[in-house]
């Protein structure tokens, strides 16, 4: 077997809005994926923190033009721009300023060996579920992940998203059940949940405060 592999982003089947470069090439010592913003104004990097993973992240704009926002500060990023966010707690996201924007994202946790991130598991369910979610079809989004977990209970990364979709769909009991599973699996996600607007419908429920603590 040859000891090298070659690819281009356009050769790899996208999952939802990202291209799994790491998985495709078999990279195992750092995270590397590409994020796509097909339309102007679309989110290329959805606003998030890396608090659950502890990763520092480096973004590089490969094509198009992106506008990053990191902890409320804007960074205009034409192709060839690196944006490095060392603190996992920082809220960051990017919007495409031009159609066809492509952002490479590289990450890892300083001082620790890289391991494949849970959120990459179950992408075949997350991809259609996210489409429903973005269209506001929360019950349908939840149904897709329910099926995913029934078929693959080992995809523990699906619990968190199912908790979000169930909360938005008004399935409060189900939301708490899966949020609890997600927290059992990775306690670090508690803080993430606290700031996640998807839980706004259940935020005042005493069970939410019990699970994630007060704001």
């Amino acid at each position: 077997m040859s000891r090298w592999r070659l690819t281009r982003i356009s050769d790899i089947e996208p999952r939802d809005r990202w291209v799994p470069i790491r998985d495709h090439l078999g990279v195992s010592s750092f995270g590397v994926n590409a994020w796509l913003g097909a339309d102007q104004g679309q989110a290329v990097i959805g606003e998030h923190s890396e608090q659950p993973t502890g990763h520092e992240e480096l973004y590089l704009v490969l094509e198009g033009h992106a506008l990053f926002t990191v902890d409320g500060e804007e960074v205009d990023a034409p192709p060839g721009t690196f944006v490095f966010v060392p603190d996992p707690e920082s809220r960051r996201g990017a919007v495409a300023k031009e159609p066809g924007t492509v952002v490479l994202a590289l990450g890892g946790k300083p001082g620790e060996a890289y391991s494949v991130q849970r959120w990459e598991q179950g992408w075949e369910y997350n991809t259609p579920a996210m489409e429903h979610y973005r269209a506001g079809r929360y019950a349908e989004a939840a149904a897709v992940l329910r099926t995913g977990l029934a078929e693959h209970p080992e995809f523990v990364g699906l619990h968190y998203n199912l908790a979000c979709f169930a909360a938005l769909a008004g399935e409060t009991d189900e939301a708490f059940k899966h949020l609890e599973r997600a927290i059992d699996d990775s306690p670090g996600i508690r803080e993430f949940a606290r700031g996640d607007a998807d839980f706004d419908p259940v935020r005042d429920d005493t069970r939410f405060v019990e699970l994630v603590g007060a704001e």
């Binding site: 040859s2 000891r3 090298w4 592999r5 070659l6 690819t7 281009r8 982003i9 356009s10 470069i21 090439l25 078999g26 990279v27 195992s28 010592s29 750092f30 590397v32 990763h55 520092e56 480096l58 590089l60 490969l62 990053f68 990191v70 902890d71 500060e73 960074v75 990023a77 034409p78 060839g80 721009t81 690196f82 944006v83 490095f84 966010v85 060392p86 603190d87 920082s90 960051r92 490479l104 590289l106 990450g107 890892g108 946790k109 300083p110 001082g111 620790e112 060996a113 890289y114």
Partner: protein, 216 residues
């Protein structure tokens, strides 16, 4: 631009270091990245080397190359790999690899780390310009260039290690032992390298060396 939350830079704003081989923009050092290695190698003219011929068998690093501009011809384990802009080439640690520019302004991003191991920035890229004098056996010049860097960047073990090698070869045994000690304090895994590194042969019989490194 840099704030408390992020550092951003255009590729062409990142310092270009020339060590007499393929010049590189030192992305990792410039941005303060700690979880993996990343630099951009620059070949201004067609026909010039764009990635130095090497393997990563000793370091164990897997490497991912991305052609950011221009066009490169890689050779991996003797096989020719044509790589236009936008091509990723992944290379396992033990494979021999190198690349030559087929077009002017060819820039290749190289990202690397060791699977299963925490990445530890050695600062080799900061030491690289001084290693040009080192390879030319001008150890006095290499020492002169490395000395201020050791003080400036105490976080990088490659700086005192390479300084110790230069001092060893220049016959400055006491200084070599001192800087080797500093390098091993910063990164214990360099002890293994020191055991077999021929640059340290001139100081190997010094009792302080055996005490520091152990016997081979």
């Amino acid at each position: 631009m840099s704030t408390e939350s992020f550092t951003s830079a255009r590729l062409d704003e990142i310092p270009l270091l020339d060590d007499g081989r393929v010049p590189m923009r030192i992305v990792r050092h410039h941005l303060g990245i700690r979880a993996f290695g990343i630099n951009a190698f620059v070949a201004n003219e067609a026909g010039k080397p764009a990635i130095n011929e090497h393997d990563e068998a000793d370091s164990g690093e897997e490497e991912l190359y991305l052609v950011l501009s221009g066009h490169a011809l890689f050779t991996v384990d003797g096989e020719a790999v044509d790589a236009s802009t936008g091509t990723f080439v992944y290379v396992e640690p033990a494979a021999q690899r190198g690349a030559v520019a087929k077009e002017p302004e060819t820039v290749i991003l190289a990202v690397g780390a060791v699977p299963g191991k925490a990445y530890r920035p050695s600062g080799w890229e900061v030491a690289a310009p001084a290693m040009a004098a080192f390879r030319a056996k001008d150890y006095a010049k290499a020492i002169e260039q490395l000395e201020p860097l050791v003080e400036q960047y105490p976080q990088y073990p490659a700086l005192p290690y390479n300084l110790a090698c230069a001092e060893s070869l220049a016959g400055r045994t006491g200084d070599a032992i001192g800087h080797l000690r500093r390098a091993l304090e910063a990164d214990d895994s360099l002890r293994e390298l020191a055991r077999t590194d021929s640059d340290l042969d001139p100081v190997r019989d010094d009792p302080r060396f055996a005490e520091l490194v152990g016997s081979p």
